[in-house]
Structures are given as structure tokens and as C-alpha cells.
């Protein structure tokens, strides 16, 4: 404790409370967790929609495919820091506020799910078309093919894509933090950087890194478990 008190005096001063490290870690985990779940569901659905309606998909539909595909591109093209500001009114409508960790959820989800949808698409097009054809030849329904072939055969790639997305989501929470969302990003910028309390910035960074490593390690573990 003495060591920390000596070399990281500002960390000790900023440890507890809503605006301290304890609160920041909780907020980052909260934002990451909720947006990961919601973006995960949305991204998976949209990604599947694109794969299925593609001209080589199991239910080709040019109109749905091109609209979805263009929307994904559109949302992915808006820089996140601008997206935060642009969709302010929408955020206010949905969660009632544009600040704090709840205010960050809407932009995080909108910033993240198109990215994940593209990752899902990339993962699922890797599924051997021959296996899809075999399933069709066996009299499988389209829904059966989605759940029992695409999602099952694509699982290792989907998990890799999810890890990548969660890690980039942690990055986004930090960025959202800089404009009032709270969390480790907010602590690092608003306290560490702007008050020249470098030890706070460094420790906040270390916590973010630990979070990323844990996500990566868990992802790798699961991938290894489901790959045969």
C-alpha cells in the first residue's frame, strides 16, 4: 500500500466513489456487457439476413440484401465520436439522457452492431457451400439450415468475430467516456489527462488492457473447445 501511495498518489485519491476507479470499472463493464449483448443479437440477426438473402444464399432477395448491405456500410462509415453527437436526440428518446453510462448505450450499440453484422457475414460465408447444399438435398428447411448448419459450422469463426467485436467495443466505451459517459476512458481523460495526473491515466490503461486480455483468453478457450 505504501508503494502505491508513494508512486501513485492520485490513484489513491481517486480510488473510491462513483467517479473513482471502482465506479469507472463498474461503468465500463456495464457499458461493454449491455452493448455487447444487444449488438450481438442485432448484429447476428442482420448478418444472417445478409448471408441468407445474398444471391448465393438460401433465400436470395436482391432488395433486402442491398438495403441491409448499404445500411451496414452507412453506419460503419460514421466516425464513432461524431455518431455520439449526431444521434443525441435518438438517445434521449430511448433512454431519456445523453450522458452517463446509460446515455452511452445507444450510440455504442449503433456503432457496434453493424460492425458485428459484417463480421458475422464474413464468418458465415466461410461455411462450406457444399455442406449447405447437402443439407438442402436432405430436405432441410431454411430455418434448419440457419440454426443447424450456418450457426453450428460457423461457430468457431463467430466466436473469433465476437471477441474482436467486444475488444473494439471496449475501445468505444473509452471514447464515449471522453464525452461524458463515465468509465475508465472518462477517468483516464477527464482526471488523468486534464489534471496532469499521469498515474491515473496509466492505471486506467492497465485496467483496460487487463479487460482486453481476459476477453481474448476466454474467447480463445471457447474457440478451442468448439473446433473439431
Amino acid at each position: 500500500m505504501d508503494f502505491i501511495a508513494k508512486y501513485m498518489p492520485n490513484v489513491v485519491a481517486n480510488w473510491e466513489g462513483e467517479y473513482g476507479f471502482v465506479g469507472a470499472i463498474q461503468q465500463t463493464l456495464y457499458m461493454t456487457f449491455i452493448s455487447a449483448i444487444v449488438s450481438g443479437i442485432l448484429g447476428l440477426a442482420v448478418g444472417l439476413l445478409v448471408v441468407v438473402t445474398d444471391k448465393d444464399g438460401i433465400a436470395p432477395n436482391r432488395v433486402i440484401y442491398s438495403i441491409t448491405d448499404k445500411l451496414i456500410n452507412l453506419f460503419r462509415s460514421i466516425p464513432f465520436i461524431i455518431l455520439l453527437a449526431v444521434i443525441g436526440p435518438l438517445t434521449k428518446l430511448i433512454v431519456g439522457t445523453t450522458i452517463g453510462e446509460n446515455g452511452a448505450l445507444v450510440p455504442l450499440i449503433i456503432g457496434c452492431f453493424p460492425f458485428y453484422a459484417r463480421q458475422v457475414q464474413n464468418a458465415l460465408v466461410q461455411v462450406d457451400p457444399g455442406v449447405i447444399e447437402a443439407a438442402k438435398a436432405m430436405g432441410e428447411t431454411n430455418l434448419g439450415i440457419v440454426f443447424h448448419v450456418y450457426l453450428k459450422e460457423g461457430l468457431p469463426d463467430l466466436i473469433r468475430a465476437s471477441v474482436l467485436t467486444i475488444i473494439s467495443l471496449i475501445g468505444l466505451t473509452a471514447m464515449a467516456g471522453a464525452v461524458g459517459a463515465g468509465g475508465l476512458g472518462s477517468l483516464a481523460i477527464n482526471v488523468g489527462y486534464q489534471r496532469f495526473e499521469n498515474d491515473v491515466t496509466i492505471l486506467a490503461t492497465i485496467f483496460v488492457l487487463i479487460l482486453v486480455f481476459v476477453v481474448q483468453a476466454v474467447g480463445d478457450l471457447i474457440t478451442r473447445k468448439v473446433s473439431h
Partner: protein
């Protein structure tokens, strides 16, 4: 036998894109009888894969009629089509197994929606794995299996719903010759044991020779020749058929070597270089010795090849007839009178393709 189980009428499959119009299947009729093993042979791009995909409507024809098991497949709705597909098993060149499932789960996959109870399904899967000789591999994953073993799993999976028809799409093309033979033998076994009708597409005439009763030869979306395997091998008409048969007899390559031999190069005008082809026990008398006794013509056999197709011998001999000019002519006329096909060969036309 005799009753048609697959009837394709005037099938056209036209892949139209912006830049080109590819006629993959061009007005093809095809009838396969119940219990038959029907081969469709052709080079890649000939349209054979597209044609067989019309049978289970993995490929919808641009025009034409498709009857399978007495059902007009084109008139079925989605649910009925899925039901019909369960009765048409299919195996593939690259096996197309689910890598995320064990062998047992792969074979059980088509039974997912079946009405069988859990224990009946398990019994069925065990029987199928027993049939293809992979009972001990059921908990393995496809990646741990060899190509031949994977194809056996593919066959077991294709048989899960007790189909009437099995479509084999280049199923042995990715396998080595020995494995190919064992897979073909398995198909023949299944055909005999279960009375299953098999449609086998391949570019290997060797495979056709081994298992098929009938064969159709396809080129550029058309069937150029078809018939009983023995007729096709004995008297091929189309150049492509001849080329395919040559891949199994290697007669062409043999001839090239023979044409290089000194005695053939310097063949006296009175002598004749001929090819004799016969099916079954064509001649009542021993032909070669008769030539000598009756015509005083000696026959020097340069090359001989006899194969047994569906229990019937099929022979090719390359022979030099030596004797006086009038005698060899008379001998030729005599052979022609027998049930033996005679082709005179000209050693000087080195590039000649034998028929």
C-alpha cells in the same frame, strides 16, 4: 426392373447472366429404371452435375418435365419437395460432412425431423454405420477420418431416410484408386442389398465400368451416346465415348508403341495389321488356328486385352496377319463373317485414333 423411377423429359437449364448465356443442359431426356445403376460420364463442364441436380431440384430446370417415383417434382410445394428430397440420397465429391458434428451425429442429421423415436434413430444410425463399416468411428469427428472413410459416412448419411434413389456426384473423384474401388463396391452392395437405384456421375470411365449397368455420355449439355454398358464398350459410336473408353483400355497409347516397332514399320504390303474386337464367346471355333488351317495365314498377336464386364468378356487383340496377299484378303473376309469386329490399322498414319 423395367419400371422407370426417374424420368427427365426435354430438360433445359439455361444460366443467363448479363454478359453471357450458358446452356448447361440442352434438351436432355433421361430415363432411369428402378434398381439400376446408371452412369453419366463427361468432362467437367459437360453439364452432368447440373443435370442430376434437376432430379432433386437443387437446380430448377428452365424447361422440361421431371418425374421421380411417379411424382411430378416440379408441381410440389416447398414442404412436399423437402419430403421428396428425403427419398433421394446424395453423396458428393468433397463429402460435405458437418465438421462440427461427430460421425454418429452426421449420420443422424437427416433424421432430425423424422418421426422415429430416439431409440429407433439410434438403432438406425448404428445399422448404417455397421453397413458402411465404420461402427468403431462413431465418436470421431470428420477431420480425423481419411477420404474413403468420410465418403462412407456420406453414404451412411444419404441412406438414413431409406431413400429410393442415390445420386453420386463425383463421389470417388477425390479418392485414390484403391479407395475408389472399395467405395464403388460398397455402392454395388447397397444397390443389391437395398434395391436402391443409383445415378452415378463421374469423369472416370473406370468407375462406370466397375459398377454401372447403363451409361450416358455427356458433352456440352447434351447426351451424345447412351446404352447398356456392354454395347457402349463393345461398339462406341461417338468420338468422345471412344476417348473415354480408351482411358480404361489405354489402347491408343499401346498403338503408338506398336507403330514404333520395326516389324510394324516395315510391314510387307501383303501383311495386314488389324484390331479384333469381340464380345462374349463370339466364335465357336478357335479363330487364330482356323486362319492358319483354312487360309494358311499366320497371326502374330502383338497385344491382347480381355476385360470382364458384368460377367461378359470383352476382348481386344492387335494382330499381324502374314501370308500371300490373296490369302490374307480371304482370311479378313472370313473374320468379318464371324461375330468379331475387324479394324484395319495403318501404321503410317501414326496419329490415327483407333476406334
Amino acid at each position: 426392373m423395367g419400371e422407370p423411377i426417374i424420368k427427365l423429359d426435354d430438360i433445359v437449364v439455361d444460366f443467363k447472366t448479363k454478359d453471357q448465356d450458358l446452356l448447361a443442359v440442352n434438351h436432355v431426356d433421361l430415363t432411369v429404371e428402378k434398381g439400376d445403376i446408371y452412369g453419366i460420364v463427361g468432362y467437367s463442364g459437360a453439364g452432368k452435375s447440373t443435370l442430376v441436380r434437376v432430379i432433386n431440384l437443387l437446380q430448377r430446370p428452365t424447361s422440361g418435365a421431371v418425374q421421380v417415383n411417379g411424382q411430378n417434382i416440379l408441381s410440389l410445394n416447398d414442404a412436399e419437395l423437402r419430403q421428396a428430397r428425403k427419398k433421394i440420397g446424395m453423396i458428393f465429391q468433397h463429402f460435405n460432412l458437418l465438421n462440427s458434428l461427430t460421425i454418429e451425429q452426421n449420420v443422424a442429421f437427416p433424421l432430425r425431423t423424422s418421426k422415429l423415436s430416439k431409440s429407433e434413430k439410434k438403432k438406425k444410425v448404428d445399422e448404417l454405420l455397421e453397413l458402411v463399416g465404420l461402427a468403431d468411428k462413431k465418436d470421431n469427428y470428420p477431420r480425423q477420418l481419411s477420404g474413403g472413410q468420410k465418403q462412407r459416412v456420406g453414404i451412411a448419411r444419404a441412406l438414413a431416410n431409406d431413400p429410393d434413389i442415390l445420386i453420386s456426384d463425383e463421389a470417388t473423384s477425390a479418392l485414390d484408386p484403391k479407395t475408389t474401388e472399395s467405395i464403388l463396391n460398397l455402392l454395388r452392395d447397397i444397390n443389391e442389398k437395398l434395391g436402391l437405384t443409383i445415378v452415378l456421375i463421374t469423369h472416370q470411365m473406370e468407375a462406370v465400368k466397375q459398377v454401372c449397368n447403363r451409361v450416358a455420355v455427356m458433352d456440352s449439355g447434351e447426351v451424345v451416346e447412351r446404352g447398356e454398358i456392354l454395347d457402349i464398350f463393345a461398339k462406341p459410336q461417338h468420338p468422345l465415348t471412344k476417348a473415354f473408353i480408351d482411358t480404361t483400355t489405354r489402347l491408343d497409347a499401346t498403338l503408338k508403341v506398336i507403330y514404333q516397332q520395326e516389324n510394324v514399320k516395315n510391314l510387307p504390303a501383303s501383311d495386314k495389321l488389324i484390331k479384333l474386337s469381340y464380345v462374349g464367346d463370339s466364335t465357336d471355333e478357335p479363330l487364330i488356328s482356323t486362319l492358319y488351317e483354312k487360309f494358311n495365314v499366320s497371326a502374330n498377336i502383338l497385344y491382347g486385352n480381355i476385360e470382364i464386364l458384368r460377367g461378359t468378356p470383352l476382348g481386344n487383340l492387335i494382330v499381324i496377319l502374314t501370308g500371300a496377299a490373296s490369302d490374307t484378303e480371304a482370311a479378313l473376309a472370313f473374320i468379318n463373317g464371324q461375330d468379331v469386329q475387324v479394324t484395319e490399322l495403318d501404321p503410317k498414319a501414326q496419329s490415327e485414333v483407333i476406334d
